[in-house]
Amino acid sequence: MLIINGHLDDAGHEDVGHPERPERLRAVLRGINELHLDGDLLAVAPYSASRAELARVHDATYLDELGAYCYEGGGDLDADTYATYDSWSIAQFAAGAGLAVIKELQIRDDGVGFVAVRPPGHHASRDRAMGFCLLNNIAVAAAELTSQGERVLIVDWDVHHGNGTQSIFWDDPNVMYVSTHQWPFYPGSGAPYEIGGLDALGTTVNLPVPAGATGDVVRQALLDTATPAIEEFAPTWVLVSAGFDAHRSDPMADLALSNGDFAELAILTASFAPRPGRLALFLEGGYELGALQSSVTSSLGALLGADFASERPTHGGPGSDAVANAKEARFAALRIARDTGL
């Protein structure tokens, strides 16, 4: 069973010519349709996140400012990020979509969730919009789960580091944030020695890979460095910041993954979930519509036990050395932090 959010009318959040555009969501829905799930697909009713739910991860003044900014017509928030009159409402529904999908997974205790929304969220910090992101959708969902006593693993395979998510949960021992991302690259954070705050040492795991890296390198990073930490953390829920801009066709970045790689990443990530009904993917980036569609199909198909990948997993790109070096850098940072308390 695939559980997705109900229709989100996102047409009002658009800046003509901007790559983060409504057509992305149409491509994602085409990707879901390719699975021909019929009765195995459930769309849950749209839901707008409440102020209290948003305030768990965003400052009240930021929420006030963003709402007012939009109601006055919006504009550019930085060189990359825009907001329109409708953006505030759409962003609240995007954040609420994750909450609705998770609630349905809890009720059914089975299935896989997919939160198909925009604008994306993982760059949004407590008090700043950036990187096309206004509200941090996956953080809102993770905070809801931790409020219920859950231990949440967030795996972020978007090509960009999710600086917003990392910063929100930096000192939270109940959320582990694991990111694979191109490095060096926007937004500049995500070094392997960024390992979490003193109250949550080791619960941030950054796995940077160089431009040109293929799927095997990303998987190696997850298996060698992240998996032992995840097993020790023992999550009760797994949420995925599922950006598909690491695909080799995506114009926003330089990694070399195929849609077959996203299928493998999905299977590996699902193996971290303790049981069925405890895994939800959240759409982040992905700007080449064909690659986005096929990668949604392949990854969700893999999670449902079917092979829909039209491209083989990739091998042989650069980055094995970088992965090994990053692992050493992480362990060194952990040793220093634990020895010195810094």
């Binding site: 928030l77 930085d78 060189a79 950036m130 990187g131 960009h160 926007y186 500049g188």
Partner: protein, 136 residues
């Protein structure tokens, strides 16, 4: 001003940013400080990298001419990230700036809001002094 050894100046090529560089270069000269001009490379810069670099170079060269400083003597760093985050990073090693300088409004202008204003966000978050150079 004592203790100011390194100044980081935010630069997006706008006229306000040119004013910031102008002020910063003069201040650095008077205080014998090092200058690092910093250009944040955002997500969208990817679509027109050559144009962006050329525009930034030309704009910076214009300011250097105005101050009478050789362009080659001014260090320009192009750094991945949004403008505010990149400037905040300048306060940390390896740059370890003692002072951040920005124009009043960059290319993302939307008067009256903290959001959309790099200078105001920077002033709110920076651990070191920030100079916001008014539009002349």
């Amino acid at each position: 001003m004592q203790g100011i050894r390194t100044i980081a100046i935010g630069f997006d090529g706008s006229s306000d940013a040119q004013g910031a560089v102008l002020w910063g270069l003069n201040f650095a000269h008077d205080n014998d400080a090092l200058v690092v001009v910093v250009h944040a490379k955002g997500l969208l810069a990817r679509f027109e990298p050559t144009v962006v670099n050329e525009e930034i170079e030309a704009s910076l060269a214009h300011v250097c001419d105005e101050v009478g400083v050789a362009r080659s003597s001014v260090r320009l760093e192009v750094v991945d990230g949004d403008a505010c985050s990149v400037m905040l990073r300048m306060a940390q090693p390896p740059v370890s700036a003692d002072l951040l300088v920005v124009g009043t409004r960059g290319q993302s202008a939307h008067a009256g809001h903290l959001l959309g204003s790099t200078s105001l966000e920077l002033a709110q978050h920076s651990p070191i002094p920030v100079v916001i150079v008014p539009r002349s």
